[in-house]
């Protein structure tokens, strides 16, 4: 791994953790906590993406330890983003947003067993409320838990993919060419 890719890991992890300030400013119910993982994967491949996801979870756990068990979700996100980058799905918003919606389903499927078994579906306030809504709609406990995670992840991952696609297109070509996967992810190589 080159020094540039090594440096990308903490920068991408810090982007994931700092974006909450931007989300707070516009008061949207989003996490964007996988932005750095997806971006690092699209720029530099799965190893850097997985490392970014693990570091993001580890550092986030220092603020709130309940994030650590969800490190598996970050790894799944990195692998999915790698496949999306290989397929050039970041080439436009028309391909990035559906890919993000697909990731939302996969992320919800991954996080539901963790949330259900470890935390009784109480990971964050928003998910707890939507899980309660699922219970009120008559869903079984595990189904209500998936319903809550799905509502949280579906839109979040679509916005994240759209944002990463915008960043990849916003990078100057000379800068993008320094990362091994960036041009292929946007369908330019």
């Amino acid at each position: 791994m080159s020094v540039r890719l090594l440096v990308l890991i903490p920068v991408a992890a810090a982007i994931s953790l700092a974006l909450s300030a931007a989300v707070d400013a516009v008061a949207l119910p989003l996490f964007l906590d996988t932005t750095g993982t997806i971006l690092a994967t699209a720029l530099a491949g799965p190893v850097v993406g997985i490392a970014t996801g693990v570091v993001t979870s580890a550092v986030n756990s220092l603020r709130n330890p309940t994030f650590w068990p969800f490190v598996a979700v970050q790894i799944i996100v990195a692998l999915y983003a790698w496949m999306a980058a290989r397929a050039g799905l970041f080439r436009s918003l028309k391909t990035a947003v559906p890919a993000g919606l697909g990731l939302g389903v996969i992320a919800a499927l991954t996080s539901t067993p963790i949330s259900y078994l470890v935390f009784g579906c109480t990971t964050t306030g928003g998910i707890a409320v939507t899980t309660a809504l699922g219970k009120a709609l008559g869903l079984p406990p595990l189904g209500a838990c998936f319903f809550g995670s799905f509502l949280a992840d579906f839109g979040d991952k679509a916005v994240t993919f759209a944002l990463v696609s915008s960043v990849l297109h916003g990078l100057p070509r000379r800068t993008a060419a320094r990362f091994p996967w960036a041009l292929r992810a946007i369908g330019a190589a």
């Binding site: 540039r4 920068v11 974006l19 300030a21 400013a25 009784g120």
Partner: protein, 216 residues
């Protein structure tokens, strides 16, 4: 407790939640939660632990009956209190020194230390970008599409500026000969007495023994 080797502190913080989940509820969770809260008090982190764990109890009550709330709540409280304690008792530079001293690559230590130092810098930059965009007429109010456009106007400059720094940081590291696989000699490695190593392995054995006992 803060004089213990960083790995011993991490072993305690990892063993308490593991035991909370292995031992039968609610007695097992209650015992580990008491120990974890005691540790949090010793590190003057009791309030942080309580404020972090309290929302989970509320949400658990919203979703479950009282016995389930108590069982899961005590386990989550153990996890929260032990992590809050270890964060309060273990300064990141001391952990980095310990990692380097035990043979971890300097790059691994760099990745964690650089992330910890970059987060507050980028958060402050995000707030400055938000202020600048407001001066240019961006409004965070309105419908969903309007807010998403505002989010793009905030997030793009933040991410692009961070990515442009990658080359500068890489150059700085290369001039200091920090590359993958590089080993460094720590300036003041934390002492790691035999008793500490025995305590760490004892905790691992205790967790495995508890797991075997529970699965029988």
């Amino acid at each position: 407790m803060t004089r213990l080797h960083p790995f011993t502190l991490l072993a305690i913080a990892g063993a308490l939640p593991a035991l909370a989940w292995i031992f039968p509820a609610p007695a097992g969770g209650l015992a580990t939660a008491i120990v974890a809260m005691g540790l949090a008090i010793s590190a003057r982190a009791f309030r942080t632990a309580v404020f972090t764990a309290a929302p989970f109890w509320l949400f658990l009550l919203l979703l479950h009956d009282v016995p389930t709330t108590v069982a899961i709540g005590l386990r989550i409280t153990t996890m929260v209190a032990s992590f809050v304690w270890v964060v309060a008792a273990l300064p990141p530079p001391r952990l980095v020194e310990a990692m380097v001293a035990t043979g971890w690559s300097a790059t691994t230590a760099y990745v964690f230390a650089a992330t910890l130092s970059a987060v507050p810098v980028l958060r402050a930059r995000a707030r400055r970008i938000a202020d600048a965009q407001r001066c240019r007429g961006m409004s965070p109010r309105g419908g969903l599409a309007h807010r998403l456009r505002a989010l793009r106007a905030l997030a793009l400059p933040l991410i692009l500026s961070a990515l442009h720094e990658v080359d500068e940081r890489a150059l700085a590291l290369e001039t200091r000969k920090l590359g993958p696989g590089t080993r460094r000699t720590p300036l003041s490695p934390p002492p790691d007495p035999v008793s500490g190593r025995v305590a760490r392995w004892s905790l691992v054995v205790a967790c495995l023994a508890a797991l075997v006992w529970r699965l029988r």
